[in-house]
Symmetry: none
DNA sequence: AATGAATGAGTGTTCATTCAT
DNA sequence: AATGAATGAACACTCATTCAT
């Protein structure tokens, strides 16, 4: 089992699971629901994944990979660290705007499972965040960013980007009414070392 | 049914539920688990709460009330808006430090249930957040705070406060190694209108 | 227990049970429902009845007694057996018309419980039917009624009377559109020995 | 789910349910009891039926179909309406004699559920009764039968046939001691328009 | 590779009954 | 006499998982 003999169906199962997690608590998504959504028999899932947890894990991995790829492809090369950071920020926001489901699912799974449990080799995965984290770490070393724990910087960036994208996605306001520049400014002000002021 | 003649057990049930939600997905907390933790028979729960949902709702209400009370009692009177905001910030951080479980549970339940579903009178409840929101709104009107959607301001404040408290709670670092002043500064910089710089 | 210190409440409990049985399967009527309908606590029922079966039994006894009393009081004295029979028939129909619930409940309980289980002394109870049965038996002995098993005569009488009353009660037709005389004629034709024809 | 790939077990479940309903109130028959009787796990039932209600419904349909088939096959062709009626009567009695459980179960389910709820296409189902009803209706139009509500005619026929069969089945008397001819006569006298007398 | 069948453990919920007060 | 509290057993139903085909 768990061989991906039919890659299409493998993707279909993950797709269905993603959509279900997007709308419900992770814990409420059942293999029955997934199978029904794909239009296959429930036991068929166990040919592609060795159990429910394995399915969730692969969902997580695929979505994180997609995000990494997107961000990597979208960010423009920059000469200095600040430019690189700004570029990553914009890429992440683009991703959040275009793939609100992906980001939502990633965060939901992260909250339900410990990170260790999800990824075997933490390094090569989660490259999107990894690149961001590298930038943030460098920025802290050069005194560009504040000397708070990395998780706070990361959180300030990601949570605000997601919130802005979600608000737009849910029609709370349009991108024109609340331009991303303001959010970017908020994040900059938060992250950057205030020595400038 | 649903009478609360024995307030001790009523509280015990809620306590047990809080601890279980703190450690798992809300959806995974079962009445069986709760009953086992309290040491009563599962059906006994239905004497104190008419539903599983009712139990969760009451957990939410109790925790939110406690937080409101704490913040209300802890914040010191301030002459100007900024002082008031700073005071609220500190009070929230104190709460997050002393009651990390409460904050965690409140956020988890909020994510699973819609706010409308949880509270009958949204106004008088959740006063802690209500007070903060009032302050933020006023600050925006006077030009003190940035003109982004309120939810972003609120998120920047609460998520960073919670993260800092959690990091300390989990032993990632001590309050001495990473003083709250830095987090407060991050929040100030994020929230305040940059016109000052 | 089971003392009827407060006869009012005793009757209230039976009343509520009667109404509930009228609308549901006997097996679906719970002490919880009864207590709620009366406005007392569930355990209170066990002061008046020693268990659920005992309650049902007393419901049955009371309703049967009421029917007996009604029929006994309503039938007019008759000189011959046929006149007596006709009078009983009319009395039963009057009862069915005025107390459709009672008749319904009696039949429902009879179907769920064996008769032996319901009444301790089968003789003195169920006097209404007893009187009818006596009449039928006499009629058979004198050759007035058909020589089929008594239960068939009884069934033909009671089931048709109930059906007619129910149809009227449910608005299927009015007593004017379908006068009882026709039903009485049907019963007479069925019961009476055809030698007359 | 709900596929009927293994027709044997599907029938076994229905058989067990029929026997249980025969002996108890419909409302008291539980999926646990049924499963135990068949010797399968309780959850297995939900592979063959989507609900407890669905199970009951299928029990009803199967029994009614069997009765229809039996009556249809058993009745002999008749030249006139009266002969047809007499033939249907005899067929119904044969069925009641040979399948007392079926008839009992059909009536019990009918009392608990509304007819509409039980069958999708009321017309083609329940053909046994349907044929009888057609005969009765025709008989009323030609003045052969009494002008009472159809339900009374139907009741007089079915209830007496069932009672006679049950009495024999329970050993109250033998078919020799109380020949069906007498019951048939009772029904004829009841149903037929008395103008003959 | 795919499915239907099967199961045991789990869910929330209701029930009849008992008991201390 | 009356009640709230408590419980164990039952219920309908869903789930993740396994297995033979």
């Amino acid at each position: 089992m768990m061989k991906k003999k039919n890659p299409e169906k493998y993707q279909q199962i993950i797709d269905a699971t993603v959509q279900l997690i997007d709308r419900q608590d992770v814990a409420m998504v059942s293999t029955t629901q997934v199978a029904k959504k794909v239009g296959i028999s429930q036991s068929n899932i166990y040919i592609y994944f060795k159990n429910r947890d394995d399915l969730i894990k692969h969902v997580f991995i695929r979505e994180v990979d997609a995000m990494s790829q997107f961000v990597h492809d979208t960010q423009v090369p920059a000469t200095d660290l600040f430019g690189q950071f700004a570029s990553q920020l914009d890429a992440l926001f683009q991703f959040a705007l275009q793939h609100p489901t992906s980001l939502n699912v990633i965060q939901k799974i992260l909250r339900s499972y410990s990170y260790q449990h999800l990824v075997a080799k933490p390094d090569d995965l989660n490259a999107a965040n990894a690149e961001l984290l590298v930038t943030l770490k460098k920025g802290q070393q050069t005194g560009l960013f504040k000397q708070v724990d990395l998780s706070l910087l990361q959180n300030t960036i990601l949570s605000n980007i997601k919130l802005q994208a979600d608000n737009i996605h849910h029609g709370k306001y349009t991108a024109a009414e609340q331009p991303f520049e303001r959010v970017r400014q908020l994040i900059f002000d938060a992250i950057l070392n205030g020595s400038r002021s």
